[in-house]
Symmetry: C2
Subunit: 203 residues, 2 copies
């Protein structure tokens, strides 16, 4: 085992360093965030920084990149207060990854990448029709992270769409069954295989 000091890492070539550091946190949940502009243009972003904040109230957050790099989703959410989160399956992985390209704000990214918009009554933001697990979020707060111009976007859960067959008897979701994938680094994707569930731990 070798130690790599940050002073050494900083001297590395930019893409080598970005690959290394982006992989460090391990395999990540990866989803498509659906939103719509105030003028009605649907938008999709691929996000691998989604984090569970608490079950009661049901709060979920994600890190939005700096506005200069990724302006559309955060602008849309600011205006409409509404977004959707859609799990990714291997069957549409290539289309999902294509969402990381920087399209102009006037481009309908569903059409550009080849996925299908799905609208549900009373929900302005588009869902990804191909997704087997998706949920509707309402904006709670956009909190700036000053150190690197990113934003912590916090939302509250409004509703969930999924097949009842993946819900276990105690509410646990069998996402290996639904085929939800994970990502690693900037461009890697992996599938999962359940090892086990363990009993509630006591001292």
């Amino acid at each position: 085992m070798r130690q790599f000091l940050i002073e050494e890492i900083k001297t590395w070539e930019r893409f080598y360093r970005a690959n290394f550091i982006n992989c460090l946190t391990g395999f990540k949940p990866v989803s498509l965030v659906g939103s719509i502009s105030s003028s009605g243009v649907p938008n999709l972003s691929i996000i691998s920084s989604i984090v569970h904040l608490g079950a009661d109230p049901a709060l979920i957050g994600y890190i939005n990149r700096p506005v200069a790099a990724a302006p559309d989703t955060i602008t849309n959410i600011e205006h409409t207060k509404c977004f959707t989160i859609n799990h990714i399956n291997e069957s549409f992985l290539h289309q999902a990854h294509q969402c990381s390209a920087k399209y102009s704000p006037e481009v309908n990214e569903f059409e550009a990448i080849g996925l299908t918009e799905r609208y549900e009554e009373g929900i302005i933001a588009p869902f990804v029709k191909e997704a087997l697990v998706s949920y509707e979020m309402e904006l709670v707060e956009i909190s700036p992270i000053h150190y690197n111009k990113t934003f912590f976007v916090i939302g509250q859960l409004k509703s969930v769409f999924l097949e009842e067959s993946i819900i276990d008897a105690d509410g646990f979701l069998n996402l290996s069954k639904s085929g939800s994938i994970v990502s690693i680094g900037l461009d890697g994707y992996a599938k999962t295989e359940m090892i086990t569930r363990l009993p509630y731990a006591k001292p």
Copy 2:
């Protein structure tokens, strides 16, 4: 596919609801956070809310549960400004999961759960000797999330320990090779299998 409204979810039995909502974000990176108290008691927490914030500067955050539920790690980090993050392998999964039990602050959790402390020169916080990938963090900020009394703990990367054999030619870390696992919900664990890496996406 069925829609579940939050108004319905809120009526569910507490553990059923917690399982369902904790699973929603998908498979998560799961690691052991090592810290030490100002009186020298080592501490370990199992954390599944670790999130990459940016590569330059190299910032990584995690969500700490409310102080009433999980006081030790956050108190230690506040005092020492230092913590370690250690990937979990299937070989010590049961010990890692046992870290979710609530031990008294005076208990050395490495001894209580059966993992080995490893200390490195100039780093006060303990590493998990059994981990194949681990890294040293310095506290940047503890940001309270008022809606549910959790905290967003932001740190900057100081150094990394891993086997050079898992680093690919372009800096990508092959964490399927090192066997880093993921978690799901409150008590589920899964292993991963790489699907692919995809080229940089352009419009």
